[in-house]
């Protein structure tokens, strides 16, 4: 198993490099221009000077090598310096990945935004999984019962109604009419006491509910289908004929086996948390990673788009490995040697 993980991690390195090149090439080929969104009153020669100052007109290879150097050498060294409080040689000349739009280091901005994304998107993901698995199992166990029918209906609604609609509806009901929850998320809020904790929870309720609805709908469908399939297997009949209690049959035999594909799905969904929830973040002004990526794409901010999408790609690769490993742990039939 250990050997397998090491091998997978090593083969991931060329994959990641190829991905970084492909992302860079796609962005380079796209017609975006960092000065494209500037007001029309700015004359072309001023635009040319801005592009030159940003290094946007450098040849493709120069830009790519510069980014590789900044991302894989300068940024880790810089990170080490801040963590250990030391100064490594060449600290002065190292250039970090700088965003064209904000003119600040991209990594710092990501670090600044990660907390709110994790709070909102992360907690909705956990909540979604916690609700989806029992609901899915119970729906399957009592197939075609009222619970299953209502659950299936609600899940179809949650799955098919877009988040921009549910988000807006929540704001109109709970912010405008009832005035219970704020519609503007305060990212500067620091939880220090009961009062601030209460405010944090209040402002999280709406975005988290919207996202949870969506995650739950997706996951519970998988859980239900997978449990249904397992409940019809011969080994369930065997378990029952052995005289085991229904509880043991369902939880120990059926659910454990049904969760194998679900766990893979959950693991593969985790990188999505880091990418944020583009639309929901926008509606509630959570201003996390998702909103940052959107602004960067609109503004033709190549270093930011490249860095954020690349980090996302790395996470996808990593969590694929995690999912494979988990698969092996959960399913003894799968062995890695």
């Amino acid at each position: 198993m250990g050997k397998y993980i090491v091998r997978r991690l090593l083969t991931a390195i060329p994959t990641i490099l190829v991905i970084s090149f492909i992302i860079f090439a796609i962005l380079e080929l796209s017609p975006s221009d960092p000065t494209g969104n500037l007001p029309l009153t700015i004359p072309p020669e001023v635009r040319a000077k801005i592009r030159e100052a940003l290094g946007a007109d450098d040849p493709f290879v120069v830009k790519y090598v510069k980014w590789l150097n900044q991302f894989f050498i300068a940024e880790p060294l810089n990170f080490a310096e801040t963590v250990f409080g030391i100064t490594l040689p060449g600290s002065e000349e190292r250039t970090r990945v700088i965003s064209w739009a904000t003119r600040g280091p991209v990594i710092d901005i990501i670090a600044e935004r990660l907390p709110q994304t994790l709070w909102v998107v992360g907690s909705s993901y956990i909540l979604g999984v916690m609700i989806a698995v029992p609901v899915g199992v119970f729906s399957a166990y009592r197939q075609y019962s009222i619970f299953d029918q209502v659950g299936t209906f609600l899940m179809m609604v949650g799955f098919s109604v877009p988040t921009f609609f549910t988000g807006l509806m929540f704001i109109i009901i709970f912010s405008v009419n009832l005035k219970w929850f704020p519609s503007v998320y305060d990212t500067t809020l620091v939880v220090t006491d009961i009062e601030t904790l209460k405010r944090q929870l209040l402002q999280m309720i709406m975005p988290v509910t919207v996202l949870t609805l969506y995650t739950t709908a997706q996951m519970s469908r998988y859980t239900r289908a997978s449990t249904l399939e397992n409940l019809q297997q011969d080994y369930i009949r065997t378990a029952r004929s052995k005289g085991l209690t229904e509880r043991t049959v369902v939880t120990r035999h059926a659910v454990r086996n049904s969760l194998i594909p679900v766990v893979t799905l959950i693991a593969l969904g985790i990188p999505g948390i880091f990418a944020g929830a583009l639309i929901t973040e926008q509606i509630f002004r959570v201003n996390g990673i998702g909103q940052y990526l959107i602004i960067a794409i609109q503004g033709g901010d190549l270093p930011t788009v490249q860095t954020v999408t690349f980090i996302f790609a790395v996470l996808v690769v990593l969590f694929n490995i995690v999912a494979d490993v988990l698969y092996g742990i959960l399913d003894p039939r799968v062995s890695y040697t």
Partner: protein, 571 residues
């Protein structure tokens, strides 16, 4: 099942109790919502209004524009003019004298060297300054002493107030930005995220593209101001939810740029929490009349091409009775009221502001009069001789093609105008073209606004800033577009008038504001009274403030937050 259900009920009830009156504003904090967030606070590197506005709380220029577009001294005692000796007789230099005793928020004095540095910062070619055009013709900036700055121009500059007037070009502190000149500006995020200024607020916390938190500047020059001790500038989201946060939930005190449907905005305002405010700069939605013949039979070299001998004129649109009747048949108040709402008002001028430049001579177009329009055409002998409902001018039926960009408001305007013109016997064929193509510069495309292969077209244009000289220069003879300049020019109507060109020469030599205004009005009247364009709607920018805030003075010429030091909480 039952226990589960009751558990859910209890949770919901607990939440409701917990949430009661959770949306409350802090008394001494002013919350500003911009649905586009600020990327940094350095206006010289600004990507758009958001950066300029967010920086305006901290950084200040030498003079600002008030809501009427009049310059007011800000960090100086008086506006330099030729009369008071501040502007040189030959118009090649301007001298600004700083007020005494102004300090930066860190306590150090503001000096002429800071002003010089601010100019050099922008004019350094490696900085990538986005407001460089404000420094057009500036040859050098020098400090004569600690409080006096002279700006030298490389040519006579009758309007010498481009640099350091208005929120595009405020003064930044030399001591703070000294290491950030040129290419170094890229890495100076500490400075760009928290510039030291002379304004009413100081940056406390900056989060890129998200939120800026400010506290009152303890060293602000006006005793007791700003009245708010904190300000929060929150970005993100969209215009509609920003309007909702001010007008319906009352979570924010001020929301910017609320370009949403007038019906929706009116319904929100009716909730009674806030007030919608509008400020008008110079943007006018207008019809452009083609003064050349756009007949498709003419071919590339002749179609919509101006001939110096006037031989390729339009078959009927240059006849005064025709375009006057067309203008008279339009009900501008319906277009403005129904389609633009608070963001538009009817106008008969192509240069509607600032107030001193607005002509009072064309207001008769504001009332629609279809009967008068019909009478006008009858009198000119342009009648429907063959009974098909369309009038003919010298045998040519009055059939016009009318194009604009694809946009719901514009297509509704087109439909209304087509209806009105049909009532006066003019048949209209409508076209709409994707904005990217219509306004794009593709020479190969026949559908651009500059090729103008139709009789009428419609779009918005306006002057950049308060001074109209550049804008009025758009209709100079040398600006007429055509194949000779690859359709690169700004005289889209292809209109030619020697007297107009002479007025342009004159304004370029005139420095006195009142004289410039009277020249601008004359030019505006020539454009309108010669059927070059038919102005329709004066378009403004729309914002909203919460009713508990007083002192807001919406401004289209400078930052909307220009007088934030005067804002107070009244309830």
């Amino acid at each position: 099942m039952k226990t589960k259900l009751s558990l859910v009920l209890i949770i919901v009830m607990a939440l409701a109790a917990f949430a009661g009156a959770s949306i409350a504003q802090s008394e001494d904090t002013v919350n500003i919502l911009f649905w586009q967030a600020a990327s940094h606070l350095n206006p010289y590197l600004g990507n758009g209004t958001k950066e300029f506005e967010a920086a305006a709380l901290v950084l200040e220029p030498l003079a600002r524009y008030d809501p009427d577009g009049v310059m007011v001294p800000w960090l100086v005692d008086e506006i330099p003019t030729v009369a008071n000796g501040g502007v040189a007789e030959d118009l090649t230099s301007i001298i600004w004298t700083l007020s005494e005793g102004i300090t930066w928020s860190d306590g150090s004095p503001l000096t002429a060297h800071d002003v010089v540095f601010s100019g050099e910062f922008c004019m350094n070619p490696d900085t990538g300054c986005t407001v460089l055009s404000q420094f057009a013709n500036v040859e050098s900036i020098e400090a004569l002493d600690d409080l006096t700055v002279r700006i030298n121009f490389d040519a006579p500059k009758p309007f010498a107030y481009g640099a350091f007037v208005g929120y595009f070009t405020p003064i930044i502190q030399k001591a703070q930005f000294e290491g950030c000149m040129g290419a170094a500006a890229l890495g100076c995020n500490e400075q760009n995220f928290a510039p030291i200024g002379t304004g009413p607020f100081v940056v406390e916390d900056f989060r890129t593209n998200d939120v800026v938190t400010y506290t009152a500047n303890p060293n602000f020059r006006v005793e007791g101001q700003p009245y708010f001790s904190r300000a929060v500038f929150k970005g993100g989201g969209d215009a509609e939810s920003a309007a909702r946060a001010v007008l319906e939930t009352g979570e924010a005190d001020y929301a910017w740029n609320l370009q949403i449907s007038p019906q929706v905005l009116n319904a929100m305002e009716a909730a009674g929490e806030g007030t919608v405010i509008v400020a008008f700069a110079t943007d006018v939605e207008r019809l452009i009349i083609n003064h050349t013949n756009p007949d498709p039979m003419l071919g590339e070299d002749m179609r919509s091409v101006w001939m110096e001998d006037g031989s390729n004129g339009h078959p009927f649109l240059q006849v005064p009775a025709v375009w006057q009747a067309m203008s008279k048949a339009i009900d501008r108040s319906v277009i403005a009221g129904q389609l633009y709402g608070a963001g538009g008002t009817p106008t008969c001028n192509v240069l509607p502001g600032p107030p001193i430049y607005a002509s009072p001579n064309n207001d008769d177009c504001l009332t629609q009069d279809v009967d008068a329009a019909n009478a006008m055409l009858d009198e000119a002998g342009i009648v429907d001789s063959d009974g098909d409902g369309i009038r003919e001018y010298m045998g040519t039926p009055l059939m016009v093609s009318y194009q604009t960009s694809t946009n719901a408001v514009r297509q509704n305007t087109q439909a209304l105008i087509k209806q009105w013109w049909s009532e006066i016997g003019i048949d209209t064929e409508l076209r709409n073209i994707d904005a990217a193509v219509f306004f794009g510069g593709d020479i190969a495309s026949p559908d651009t606004y500059s090729k103008f292969y139709t009789d009428i077209e419609m779009y918005t244009n306006g002057s950049n800033g308060t001074d109209p000289e550049t804008y009025m220069g758009n209709w100079r003879t040398t600006e007429i577009v055509g194949p000779h300049n690859s359709w690169n020019g700004s005289n889209i109507p292809r209109w030619y008038n020697e007297d107009y060109d002479a007025l342009l020469e004159q304004i370029a030599q005139t420095a006195v504001l009142e004289e410039r205004a009277s020249l601008a009005i004359q030019m505006n009247d020539m454009l309108v009274q010669n059927g070059v364009m038919i102005p329709l709607v004066y378009r403004g920018s729309v914002s909203a403030y919460h009713n508990s805030v007083s002192g807001v003075a919406m401004n289209a010429w400078d930052s909307e937050l220009w007088n934030i030091a005067d804002w107070t909480r009244s309830m």
